[in-house]
């Protein structure tokens, strides 16, 4: 772990944290509408996994995907503008918080149907295998998706056809308001995935270095043809499922326990043990991030609305392409 890597991990995680906090403020003042699912508390997974992926690999995520998008390199400006419904947003203001897309970084979207992205990831990996391309499709989903039929169908196909897909399960112990023990007979999700003869690992989702390490090994295994890998990252979301949620389903004490071992806290302790904390100039990173986020808000505020006359554009491809 050198200073540059430490700076990268810390600033990416902090950017996500501050970005999501700004979203709360903007949502409260009605600047952002629709649904908003925040990644506060789970930053280490996105940052760790994205570190292991190459630009050539593909990413498929869920509706809680601001962190993945930022970690994948999509600009705070284009994501913020998207949530303002502006045409400068990464999907032209048509997707909103739950549907962030970016062709350049092969970010194939947030998906608002729980488990909806898994079959697509399988298909993308199938194409890569058929065309003998040396790249991985990383598929993020939560513990809620494990209960969907498509989880079983996708893991089975991926293993059956030995497809180059990296399944990353962000197990934050709650599917919206239903705790894990109320939705899964087998709560050890990596053990469940192993039953499909898939190499499955359980890792501390709060420790960015562990996540990055496991993800790197997984990608290497996949690219050496050992078939799909299943990474279960144990984590916790510090905020409600979405903005309008009284969190009746969990205790504050539990939330506070997890906050004490959150991704930023854990990483800071880790850097202090290695004498790196003082070297990364945390305050500079903080100020730079504040500026990035303020610029993003200004960019979004000044964004323009897509003309209504474009409403039907892209329902089908333009005539000439057909």
């Amino acid at each position: 772990m050198d200073i540059e890597l430490a700076k990268k991990f810390y600033s990416q995680m902090l950017l996500i944290r501050r970005f999501e906090e700004k979203c709360i403020e903007l949502y409260s003042s009605e600047k952002i509408r629709g649904f908003l699912h925040l990644y506060i508390g789970e930053e280490a997974i996105a940052v760790g996994v994205m570190h292991a992926l190459s630009a050539d690999d593909a990413v498929i995520a869920t509706y809680r995907e601001h962190g993945h998008a930022l970690a994948r390199g999509i600009s705070a400006k284009s994501i913020m503008a998207e949530m303002y419904g502006k045409v400068e947003g990464c999907a032209g203001g048509r997707g909103g918080s739950m549907h962030i897309f970016d062709a350049k970084s092969r970010f194939y979207g947030g998906n608002a149907i729980v488990g909806g992205g898994l079959p697509i990831a399988v298909g993308m990996a199938l194409a890569d295998k058929m065309m003998k391309r040396d790249r991985v499709t990383a598929c993020f989903f939560g513990d809620g998706a494990v209960a969907e039929g498509e989880f079983h169908e996708s893991l089975n196909l991926a293993s059956l056809w030995q497809l180059p897909v990296l399944f990353i399960c962000e197990n934050n112990y709650y599917a919206m308001g239903t705790a894990l023990e109320f939705s899964e007979s087998e709560v050890n999700l990596s053990k469940k995935a192993a039953s499909y003869r898939i190499n499955s690992f359980q890792v501390d989702g709060m420790d960015v270095t562990q996540v990055a390490e496991s993800a790197k090994n997984a990608v290497e295994d996949i690219k050496s043809g050992k078939g799909p890998v299943f990474l279960e990252c144990l984590t916790y979301r510090f905020r409600a499922h979405s903005m309008f949620d009284a969190e009746l389903y969990r205790k504050k004490t539990e939330v506070n326990e997890w906050k004490d071992k959150g991704p930023l806290v854990t990483f800071k302790k880790n850097l202090e043990e290695r004498g790196l904390w003082s070297k990364i100039k945390a305050q500079e990173i903080e100020d730079e991030i504040t500026k990035t986020i303020d610029d993003a808000v200004t960019f979004a505020e000044n964004g323009t609305l897509e003309p209504i006359s474009d409403l039907e554009k892209f329902v089908y491809s333009p005539e000439e392409v057909q």
């Binding site: 906090e21 409260s28 009605e30 309008f244």
Partner: protein, 387 residues
């Protein structure tokens, strides 16, 4: 200085109850710190402040319901001047600008491009159906109207060129007229016996040197007599409308014509004043034929200025008719029958017809009626006047 507002937690949240403050005036607060609890439809939710500062003033007491965007407290930030915090944006500004509605009309696709070929008559199905029912020809109607032909146009045309309405509709029309008439018109009745023998034998002489096609029926002669009498006594020929009596310059007598098995209709013999006897006969012949063929013109159904019912054919002697509003008189002509008649104090047999007059007392009185019957009778006693 900035306001701490009641936050919006979702599109379907319009207001919430401030339950409890976690801080008091003078307390220092830091960005993200929970400073109050609110009660929403989903339960109690903690709300946080979005920048560092000191609680300057509490604006809302606990247990108060406030709309989203209501200022709850004032927060003085450390260095008040430099950092302008977003939260100071009031609720109104906070509203993302309303989506421009103007283009919404443009966004609604126009219903359809009218591509009906010119030669196709654009008539609505309702209009076509009505036209078919009334035997109206759409083609000539289309010539006079541009654009689409709707039911309303068919119905207005029907008023002027009505085909004989079907029997039951006609019954209904007569029924409503009769009930109105009975209810509103104060009728008075007069009758007189008219010796028809002289006129009939005069007519027979005339018919002798006419071919059968030009033969004149007694009815035509009688109608001619009525018209001449009305010229002398014009008050009976007109309308009672909106409370006043209006005498009609033209004389359009409604003639009762029987339709086989379908009741009686009284189309007007338009412009009877300007017809001599044979012209009256031809006009009557034409009117009866068109009535039975159902090809009457609208005016013939609406312009009657008086009505003549000669139900004599059916053996009824006295005809006490009911006036058709808004007309003011009706003349009933009975059956011509052989009757003992006193002449130069000898009793001889003559062909006698009972003529009755129903009058609207609002418009005319018995004296006018009597004058008319007298004139009518004298004309028939001197038939040459009829030519």
């Amino acid at each position: 200085m900035s306001e701490f507002l009641m936050p919006s937690l979702g599109a379907d949240m319009k207001s919430a109850i401030l339950m409890q403050w976690k801080v008091k005036v003078g307390d220092r607060v830091t960005k993200g710190q929970v400073i109050a609890e609110i009660e929403t439809s989903k339960g109690v939710i903690e709300i946080e402040v979005f920048q560092d500062g000191i609680i300057e003033k509490i604006l809302v007491e606990p247990e108060t319901e406030c709309n989203v965007g209501t200022p709850l407290a004032l927060i003085r930030s450390d260095s008040d001047e430099e950092n302008i915090t977003v939260s100071s944006v009031t609720a109104e500004q906070a509203q993302t600008e309303a989506i421009p509605l103007a283009p919404l009309e443009k966004a609604t696709p126009d219903r359809y491009q009218d591509t009906t070929p010119p030669q196709r008559i654009k008539a609505s199905p309702a209009a076509r159906k009505k036209a078919r029912e009334l035997g109206l020809d759409l083609a000539d109607l289309a010539k006079t109207s541009e654009g689409e032909i709707h039911l309303s146009q068919i119905e207005s045309v029907a008023k002027t060129e009505l085909k004989t309405p079907s029997a039951d509709k006609m019954r209904q029309a007569i029924a409503s007229a009769m009930s109105l008439s009975n209810a509103e018109i104060p009728h008075y009745y007069l009758s007189a016996s008219v010796n028809m023998s002289p006129a009939l034998s005069w007519l027979e002489e005339i018919n002798k040197n006419l071919t059968i096609k030009a033969r004149i029926l007694p009815a035509a002669m009688i109608i001619r007599a009525v018209v001449l009498a009305l010229e002398a006594v014009p008050e009976l020929n007109g309308y009672w409308q909106e409370g006043y009596h209006q005498v009609c310059k033209e004389i359009h007598p409604g003639i009762a014509i029987a339709l086989r098995k379908k009741g009686v209709i009284t189309p007007a013999l338009l412009g009877a004043k300007d017809m001599n006897l044979s012209q009256t006969m031809q006009a009557l012949d034409d009117l009866i034929m068109r009535t039975r063929a159902g090809k009457l013109r609208g005016a013939e159904l609406t312009q009657q200025s008086i009505t003549i019912t000669n139900l004599g054919d059916l053996g009824v002697e006295n005809v006490y008719g009911v006036i058709y509003p808004p007309q003011v008189a009706l003349i009933g002509l009975g059956k011509i029958i052989d009757t003992p008649w006193v002449q130069e104090n000898k009793v001889i047999v003559q062909k006698v017809m009972k003529a009755t007059l129903a009058g609207d007392h609002r418009a005319t009185d018995g004296r006018t009626g009597a004058l008319f019957l007298d004139k009518f009778n004298r004309i028939l006693q001197n038939p040459k006047e009829l030519l």
